[in-house]
Every structure is written in structure tokens, then in C-alpha cells.
Symmetry: C2
DNA sequence: GCTGAAAGGGTGACAAA
DNA sequence: TTTGTCACCCTTTCAGC
């Protein structure tokens, strides 16, 4: 609470216009700058300049297509809590995690487990094989798996593929961009 | 294993070219059709037709910008296991989940918990407030939270905002598109 | 799936507020 | 400092093949 009276702490130069531009791009990353400009009340050129700045600032990290994993044959999804022997160094954990392409997200967490993995596989059989590989890793002591039964936000099974993304512009960008 | 000798069961008409086009779009959703065509050995027109078909088939569900939530002031992330009273109907759970914009993903799962929620908040204080709101919902009996400490796949905190997405084109799209 | 042509978007330089 | 206009070139899009 030093320079501005915004509702959240954000990047210094990030105004309402930027917020609406990001919202438009989250909703449709292939929209033209002119289209976005018309929606937010700016010229296409001005929109492009702001987008370039936000990319340089690391606010926007990229543009990606969202796909339905089930359409690609990846119909099985699970979350796996990992319990490690002794103090598991996050640095080492990260290396291990990178060796299994089926792990689509992984993080260290508070609570009983040391890490939480988000895994996608082609089938339950495939998932079992992945789990065996993970449990065979040096300092993994125990795992607790939860298979995903149904998505409560996108019942159709609409999911995607991109660096660490989740949801946002559903019904108008309620989540991250209010 | 009926018509083709592909490695996984996928949508009927989905070949190697489609796979590479999707991979290109996941890596950069704003790439031009000509660029993609040059990369996969097709004309831009042919690429567009395939993309249009895949959108119609629901393989590609959209295009979105990926952002760093922390840059937008959403620096706190947690997973919340929800235990319900009696048989919690997924239909009702979905309604509840939609009332809290901080819930960026939610699913029913196997194991002890009935549902798993992925929550993003501006701060630990904000998260606590969200948790109180969730626990006040009618048939929520108990919750178990795990605060995310660090991302093991994108250490920089690079995350995103889009309908149900996660990772894929990191270092060449190892995950969903091998 | 390719080619060609018309419409429209991306991008940089320049001037103005 | 940020925006708008303009000009150039590339992309998109839709024929017809």
C-alpha cells in the first residue's frame, strides 16, 4: 500500500486497460489486436504495444492452444501425494519429476506429504505403470493416489495443455481477472 | 486396435500431421498458419482446414494467453480436499464450486475425500477467507488443505490462466503429445 | 492438398496530445 | 510517455482446381 489504491498488489504499471486486454487474450489468444482494441477502446497498435510490454515484463508468459486430453487418448488423470525419506531437497525432487513426462504439474506442499503430483495417463494400466516408476525413485517412501472421477467445472472433460494453467475466463474471467 | 497402428487410442481421423500442428499451437497459439505449415510440411491453407476440423471435433477447445498469477497479485495457491456429509451429489457440488471464483479447478476423486479443489488467492489471509466460505457450505463436513510452497516444474512461478490447463509444451511437448 | 486473389491484420516510423 | 495514423508486407480466407 504505497503508491496506488488498487485492490491487489500488482506490477507497478498495470492498469484497467491492461487487465481487459489480458482478459481478452485469455478468452481468445488468436483475437486480432484491432478486435481487442475495439473491445477496450484503443487502437490495434496501442494494444500491441501494451501486449509487447506485458510479455517483456513477464505478466503474459505465452499463448497456447487448449485441448481435450481425452481426445488425444489421455483419459486418465490423478493426483499423487509423495512422502519422502528424510528431508527431500526440492532441487532433487524437481529433477526426478522431470524424468516422467506423465507428470503435468508438481509442487512441494504443506501438510503431511512432501510433494503433490498431477499425473495424466492413457489408461488406468498406464497410470499404474507410471506410479510404479515414481515409487521406484530413490527417496520416495510412500505415495497416496487420488484418481480423478469427474471434473466439476468443465463437466464435458474440457481440459488443456500448457505450462501450468488452469482456468480463468470461464463466464467472463471471474477468477484471476476480477 | 482396429483401423490403425497408432500408439494410443485417439480420435479416428487424427494423424501425425495433426499431432504436430497441435503441438505447434500449444507452444505458440499465435503462430501463423504459414509458419506452422512450413514446420510440418504443409501449406497454410491446409493447416487452417485441419485446425478448423479439430476445433469442430472438440480436439482443440480454444486458444488462451498464459499469465503469471503472481504478477496479477494472486500469489497464494492451495489444494483442498473436501469431505462431505453422506452421499454428496456431484451435480450439487458443481453448483457450490461455481460460487467461489477463487476455485480454479475442482473434481471428484477416489480415496478418502469426495472432492479436490485447486484454489488461488491473493494472500494467505484471502485464502483463509475462501476456506471459511467453503466450509460454510451446506454439506461440507471437513476440509484438508495443502498450501503450495514451490512449483517443481516451473520454478520461476510461471503459471497461467485458462480453462483447465496444465503443462505440455515444456522442452518440446513431452507430456500429452509424444 | 495446392494456387491465386481480395480483404484484413501485424509491425514500425512518424506526428500529436 | 502514450496514443493515433499511415504505409508496407504478410496472413487469413475463400474461390476454383
Amino acid at each position: 500500500m504505497s503508491t496506488k489504491a488498487t485492490t491487489h498488489a500488482t506490477t507497478p504499471q498495470f492498469d484497467e486497460l491492461d487487465r481487459r486486454i489480458v482478459a481478452a487474450l485469455v478468452e481468445n489468444a488468436r483475437a486480432s489486436f484491432n478486435e481487442i482494441g475495439a473491445a477496450v477502446g484503443l487502437s490495434g497498435t496501442a494494444v500491441k504495444r501494451r501486449v509487447d510490454r506485458m510479455r517483456a515484463d513477464g505478466v503474459i508468459t505465452g499463448f497456447t492452444a487448449t485441448v481435450r486430453p481425452s481426445a488425444l487418448g489421455w483419459g486418465t488423470e490423478a493426483y499423487v501425494e509423495v512422502y519422502c525419506d528424510g528431508a527431500a531437497p526440492p532441487r532433487r525432487l524437481a529433477e526426478v519429476v522431470r524424468n516422467h513426462p506423465e507428470i503435468v504439474a508438481a509442487m512441494t506442499v504443506t501438510g503431511g506429504a512432501d510433494a503433490l503430483l498431477h499425473v495424466r495417463a492413457a489408461s488406468v494400466q498406464h497410470f499404474e505403470e507410471v506410479l510404479e516408476r515414481i515409487r521406484a525413485e530413490p527417496f520416495v517412501r510412500r505415495t497416496v493416489s487420488s484418481l480423478v472421477l469427474s471434473d466439476l467445472l468443465a463437466p464435458g472433460g474440457e481440459h488443456a495443455a500448457a505450462p501450468g494453467t488452469d482456468r480463468a475466463a470461464r463466464g467472463g474471467g471471474a477468477a484471476l481477472l476480477r
